[in-house]
Symmetry: C2
Subunit: 639 residues, 2 copies
């Protein structure tokens, strides 16, 4: 086989690949991130790249995803294009993964000041006891004598009992090896690392001298799109650093469903995905430890939170039956493991907890969110919603918890929308229409290239508010605005004219786009409504409505209400909680009580399987209008 | 290649082997145990077999290990002799592994019928509940459905709860991997292997189909001199096979002290010793599984018992501080480990328990013996004694237990005695002197080569009974017998004349030998007496006096009493319990209650450190006579 040189621009990274490999293969080898929603099957059209000088041509299938101009300019789909000569490949801004917004942490307050969610120093309730999962305890032990010749490990345990409130310790096998030397070389002054395992404290390692200031933990949010890690000082509880990256698994599929298909239908697919996420995590650990000048060996514990599929892939458990009716995961409660068992680069004695899931589509990330929002700790009724391809919703208080997951479809992430895109550079993220004039705002102040979720919701809200569309999403009349045009019989609204855009073409939203968006918002609202009905309450009974995740962070809440996505409640009750999955993981890292609480939440929460729940179907049909068939549900919305 | 039939006598086992294989290969294949200390290298001369009719001839190298008569009679070394025709092979008693005194198991009753010690089918007390450490449970599970879509592992656990009385299960990380496939491929009919860990049952593995009949365990006695393994059917409790070998560590030192010195003073000494014992165990596993046609993967649990040093070496823990004042082991309670962590060749998911020790010189073998003899389960006062280089003694009942260890020296194992030897072929093991005539019996009916422990005790008893020596061990008068001679000023007694012996020299016992023996017996007796005094009882309060180990098995009890080694109690109360360490390990394998009991015994037993215990010193001085300074202690002994 002949090898060819492929140079990627603007990264200026070059790799050699065998003839017949695809450009996507080359990008993977070069470490260049290219957007690929479908996992390289030519089914999403997102991996557009430009190959100048006619060195590659789009095949007939790919042409469906490209405009004529793009074909002329040498655009091809990276996954469908084989390499037969040396070439340069330009990855256009919209095709690059790294520009997407990674939600690093913590509530971004928009409407009201959320209650303090971080772990306080003074104990307030079980979740806020500062009692880290792994602790380093410095021990100054008595030397053995004839009248006190207990075994070395018993002496260590005796020391631990004196310095802590704990009674039950268990020695790991590994900590016994070399123990006798360490104790004697150090003059009986050692630091024991202990970690909570089941209801006892396991002694993980014994180091000579006082190492109690060298103890770190990692909270990790393993998201489908992004992976974020927080490095935490386990002695003080202080967050030392945070780093995020795109989930490398995106090469093999954008959403959980395509990842599952990859894991189950491709040879060693599961292992490929597992190795990818481990690479991700090890990369973040490298970044954080190098940035902060911390020794990796001083990281002794990890708490990871992710949806059920991500948790399975993290642990190299097959997700295949999660995808298929009746949606069965291998496990919902995951055992504590040694991080080394899955090749995570922390202390060789370090442990990892994976937060438990409730069901196949309500994972540890939601349990983590419930922990961060303290829903299970207070008597008032609170709702947590996390919208992505799936919308996960939980409702409850300190006595009960119910949850569900609705398939919202990819519309809010730009999928299935003619000019939809992820929230990357050039995406329109804010839209306002006043007196026929359109105001918009793009990410990075770039020329507009497409619409991301918040932009789409704003647009929809603006179209209905300005009465350009009816409550069923249909355009009222072309004559209402010069921006309403019709192409191939399909009405559409021009948000930006060709001379304003990056692509040189009008940026529009079509009637089909609007219908897709209505379907997505209907699924989410119907899920919320079904859950509220199921527990026998009304919207006004909700004390706080938490919106988690990247979707929530850039959302305009009144607009989301006006299209009937969020219920019409006092907007002061609606709080964005940012990456609540990451936050819950950190709370678990710093308080074993929170981990216990997570286990109880996962075990005790009722999950409603909406796909077979008739009331949900009915609610869905009712929600297929803007804002809703039942206008009484949205008294504040005027149309 | 031509195949030949080899028939082994007296076992009458026949195998077919290819031309050019050795007789040792054939024996291994036939499951005939032939003594081979050097591992088949022609370096030890121990694998002598007889091939009649001139069908095999000893080569020049082998002849060094054979007498002229043996060569004439067709003796060859099995490891050096290749097969070129059909033949019969007679394995002489001394060449048979089981004839060498590796104490494979169980009480050998000599004076009285011991109570039933094996695990009974009908529960009698906590120790005899048949509740094996590892169990294979066949599960026929319901297929998941929309109304019953718990996770795969929860379904397994639900199945286990139905089929067992247990509630608390924990999935091992390894058992989750591949679980989804196994359940679906097997049509939801699987076998779960569970093992007790702390107070819960850990799910070690899930196999497709019904494998509940394929579950074996190993009880291992890790002795300083010999290693014995019993293969046990974990479903029925039946012992399937037993195999023993010499502890390969003997290459690096005969007793625990020299092993410790090797481990601590030689580079990688600890690892060398650790690897040796693992080789030993893996060799026994190979022998047993091949003999019985059992898959090694079907062995799921091991319980090992050994003295504290052997347990440390087994787990690769340094024994260095055990040897030095104040005698501190790394651990007395050892964690349950995965057998694979120390490269033991059983199921990759199999576990190993190491019975806990009481102190540096009272190990898991003694705890195991206490379990086998049920000392901690009954109200009467019982004593267990195990004599080797150290004499370990335990006394107690169901309310209290006290133990100690006395350094007896190597005399009873033939060490430090001019003509002493271990109990192998040619060792004089019985001696009687009547009317000036000496009667003796050797192992293997061979010409005498030396005196082993029991022969030495008999000799000492005979010398004092016949008044050839005084109670201080000194020869009374040379004129008393023509067999008393003096060489280089040292009096000695001829047991066998030069014409009778293998060596062609007189076999004698010298006055120094006698003094050494007196020291050894004094140490043991003083330890017993100190212990009895410590607990405030008298010898007559002892209900049963158990003598464990190889030493006890061939001992003549009245003789042992007459020299003041054992206390002068009703001999009906004295029982030999054989390899009680192995037996206790097996009881633990078959009853988790016994393991719990072992932990309680180890934690609750009082150990008296004799090296700093003044009353022991006083007792020792008093015991330096035959039978004792205080003749009232030995009323039945007439001298």
């Amino acid at each position: 086989m002949t090898a060819h040189k492929i140079r990627f621009l603007p990264d200026n990274k070059e790799v050699e690949l065998e003839s017949g490999s695809t450009i996507l293969d080359a990008a993977e080898k070069a470490g260049v991130s290219i957007n690929s929603l479908c996992g390289g099957n030519g089914a999403c059209g997102k991996c557009k790249v430009q190959v100048p000088d006619g060195k590659a041509h789009a095949d007939m299938e790919s042409i469906n995803y490209l405009t004529k101009d793009e074909v002329k300019e040498g655009y091809v789909l990276a996954c469908q294009t084989k390499i037969h000569m040396d070439m340069e490949v330009i990855v256009p801004p919209e095709g690059r993964l790294e520009d997407e917004q990674i939600l690093m942490d913590e509530p971004i307050m928009t409407y009201s000041q959320p209650e303090k969610l971080s772990v306080p120093k003074v104990p307030r309730d079980p979740l806020s006891f500062f009692e880290p999962l792994s602790q380093k305890i410095y021990l100054v032990l008595d030397e053995p004598s004839q009248t006190d010749n207990v075994s070395d490990i018993d002496r260590v345990i005796r020391g631990l009992r004196k310095k802590t409130d704990y009674q039950n310790f268990e020695a790991s096998f590994k900590c016994l090896r070399g123990l006798a030397e360490t104790l004697r070389i150090s003059g009986w002054k050692v630091t024991a690392t202990i970690a909570r395992s089941c209801s006892i404290w396991r002694i993980l390692q014994i180091e000579p001298g006082d190492k109690s200031d060298h103890n770190y933990g990692l909270a990790i949010d393993v998201g489908t799109t992004t992976v974020v890690a927080q490095l935490v000082n386990m002695k003080s509880g202080v967050v030392v650093g945070v780093a995020g990256s795109h989930n490398l698994q995106a090469h093999y599929g954008a959403d959980v469903i395509s990842r599952m298909i990859y894991a189950c239908n491709i040879d060693s697919g599961l292992n490929t995905l597992h190795v990818s996420i481990i690479e991700n995590i090890n990369g973040l650990i490298k970044t954080l430890t190098e940035q902060k000048g911390i020794n990796r060996e001083d990281i002794t514990a990890i708490v990871a939170a992710g949806n059920t599929t991500m948790s399975h892939l993290l642990l190299s458990l097959t997700p295949c039956s999660i995808r298929l009716d009746p949606y069965v995961p291998t496990a919902k409660i995951f055992p504590q493991i040694n991080a080394s068992e899955i090749s995570i680069d922390i202390s060789s004695n370090g442990i990892m907890e994976t937060l438990p899931a409730v069901a196949s589509y309500v994972g540890g990330d939601i349990v983590s969110g419930i922990i961060s929002c303290r829903i299970a700790d207070r008597p008032e009724i609170r709702v947590l919603i996390d919208v992505g391809t799936n919308g996960e919703i939980a409702i409850g208080n300190n006595e009960w918890l119910v949850c569900c997951s609705a398939s919202a479809g990819p519309a809010f992430e730009g999928g299935g929308i003619s000019s939809g895109m992820r929230a990357t550079r050039g995406a329109v993220q804010r839209v306002k229409i006043e007196n026929g004039r359109v105001y918009y705002e793009t990410i990075g102040k770039a020329k507009p290239r497409g619409l991301c979720g918040s932009g789409l919701i704003d647009t929809l809200s603006a179209l209905i508010t300005n009465q350009y569309i009816d409550s069923d999403g249909k355009f009222r009349s072309v004559s209402k605005s010069e921006r309403i045009i019709e192409i191939d019989g399909e009405p559409q609204f021009i948000i930006a004219y060709s001379h304003e855009t990056e692509t040189g073409k009008d940026l529009t939203i079509t009637e089909s786009d609007i219908i897709n968006l209505i379907r997505s918002k209907a699924a989410v609202f119907a899920a919320i409504k079904s859950l509220i009905n199921y527990v026998g309450f009304k919207f006004e009974d909700i004390h706080t409505f938490y919106v988690a995740g990247g979707f929530g962070t850039y959302l305009d809440i009144p607009n989301a209400i006006s299209i009937g996505l969020l219920p019409d409640i006092d907007i002061k009750k609606i709080q964005f909680v940012g990456n609540s999955s990451l936050m819950g993981a950190r709370i678990g890292l710093l308080s074993v009580h929170a981990l216990d609480r997570a286990a109880k939440i996962a075990a005790g929460m009722t999950n409603i399987e909406l796909s077979t729940y008739q009331p949900f179907m009915d609610e869905y049909v009712g929600a297929m209008f803007l804002p809703h068939t039942d206008r009484n549900l949205f008294p504040s919305v005027r149309c």
